[in-house]
């Protein structure tokens, strides 16, 4: 606290010093700077004094002068009185004139009032008539409008009905078309599946045959196999559905199918799905014939 106070004191002291220096310098400049056109102001005006003129006057002259002055004063008084009277008359006249004017004004105002009332009445009448007319017109317009509205609504309903019918028609047509298309597609797919079966079954048969090891001493046998496949052609299961009569041969066929995994199957969509579960005849001696 003491330190801060001391600092404050020092600052104040310094400020005072600074002000003192500035004032001193300013005063010095003021004293030394006082130049100007003082030398030019030499022709100062000198005032001219007028001499006083005196004259001698006699006592009789003075008396005479005084009497004359008194008479003049009385005359002046009388004139003043007359003037006052005239003024009063004039004022009275003015008053009367004012009153008359006021009356006139009053009358005029009353008349104006009456005229105004009449005008107001007429105006109201006119307004009433106009209003009635307007009302009538409005009613007529409304009626017309209602009629037009009804007409429009009827037209709208008609139009809507037609539209709905058209839409239904279109829908039915579209449905029919879609059905036809679907049928065509299905037929096409069936054809494709048949073609694929014709092409792929022999390849599958060959592959199975390559993986098949003939049990010794068994010839002239064949068996029907049912194979379930993944979409990639991997064999999930293979079962003999039409036995050859020889269980050894049957098992060898099943093993061959499992070994032949993956089987070559078509990749096209639609056809691939039909090859998930296939049946074919396995006859190792067939190819010798074909």
């Amino acid at each position: 606290m003491a330190g801060r106070f001391k600092q404050y004191f020092i600052n104040t002291k310094s400020l005072v010093y600074a002000i003192v220096i500035h004032v001193a310098v300013g005063a010095l400049l003021l004293v030394s700077f006082d130049w100007g056109p003082t030398s030019l102001q030499t022709n100062a005006a000198t005032p001219q004094v007028e001499p006083i003129k005196a004259k001698m006057i006699s006592e009789a002259d003075v008396k005479k002068q005084m009497e004359r002055l008194k008479a003049k004063e009385q005359k002046k008084k009388q004139e003043e009185l007359q003037a006052k009277k005239r003024l009063a008359d004039l004022l009275k006249e003015q008053e009367q004139e004012k009153k008359r004017l006021a009356d006139l004004k009053k009358k005029k105002r009353q008349e104006e009032k009456k005229a105004k009332a009449l005008a107001e009445k007429r105006k109201q009448e006119v307004q009433r008539l106009a209003k009635a007319k307007k009302e009538k017109q409005r009613k007529q317009r409304e009626a017309e409008k209602r009629k037009a509205d009804e007409k429009r609504r009827a037209e709208l309903a008609q139009k809507k009905k037609q539209e709905r019918q058209a839409r239904l028609e279109a829908e039915r047509k579209a449905q029919l078309k879609a059905q036809l298309e679907a049928e065509a597609q299905a037929r096409q797919l069936a054809r494709a599946v048949d073609a694929a079966r014709g092409r792929y079954i022999p390849i599958i048969q060959q592959k199975v045959d390559r993986n098949w090891t003939r049990p010794s001493g068994l010839t002239g046998l064949n068996a029907g196999v049912r194979v379930r496949l993944t979409p990639n052609g991997e064999v999930i299961s293979a079962t003999v559905v039409r036995s050859s009569g020889n269980p050894v041969f049957d098992r060898s066929v099943e093993n061959a199918v499992l070994k032949a995994s993956p089987l070559p199957i078509p990749r096209e969509r639609g056809v691939n799905e039909k090859f998930r579960d296939i049946q074919f005849n396995f006859d190792p001696d067939e190819k010798l014939i074909s």
Partner: protein, 225 residues
Amino acid sequence: MSLIALIAQASLLVQLVMLVLLLASMISWTMIFAKRHAIREAVNSLEDFEDQFWSGGDMNNLYSHWSERRREVAGVASIFVAGYREYKRLAGKDDIDRGDMLDGVQRAMRVAMSREIESLETHLPFLATVGSTSPYIGLFGTVWGIMNSFRSLGVAQQATIASVAPGIAEALIATAMGLFAAIPAVIAYNRYSSHVERLVSRYEVFGEEFLSIVNRQSFTMQKAS
């Protein structure tokens, strides 16, 4: 046609310039006096303290003497207090390395010293600014005043030297004021910055000496233990 009349006749902008210059001069003179006082006090306290320090008294006594008057400690005393406080704090620990301790003491002293330098250097930049810019401010006022007087010369039908001269004279007052503000400010700035530099180098010397004493003391202490 006195000086006051000239100033009163000047245009508003020139008057403003004059006012700014007057204020700048006022503030810079105030700072000159305040700074002079502060530097003189710093030199005095440095000498007093050095006398005390080298008179061979106990350093502990000196420390307690100074650290009691917490507020009034300034200048080299605050550097000493900071360094010694750090030394005492660190010397109390058993497992401290001597090098680390000296580093700590030095750092504490450096912090205190930079604080001192900062307080010594306050306001010096203001003086430098006034010294370098106020002539330009004054010149600006003059140029403006002369421009105005030439313009009025162009308007007048009869151009005589007497119709221009007062305008130029009043404009030149602004330059005079700028120089009046700038010259003391520049002188003071140069003088005080060299003083401050000298003080700082003395502080540094003291710091090094104190550090060497601390080094010696800690060395003997370590040997004794």
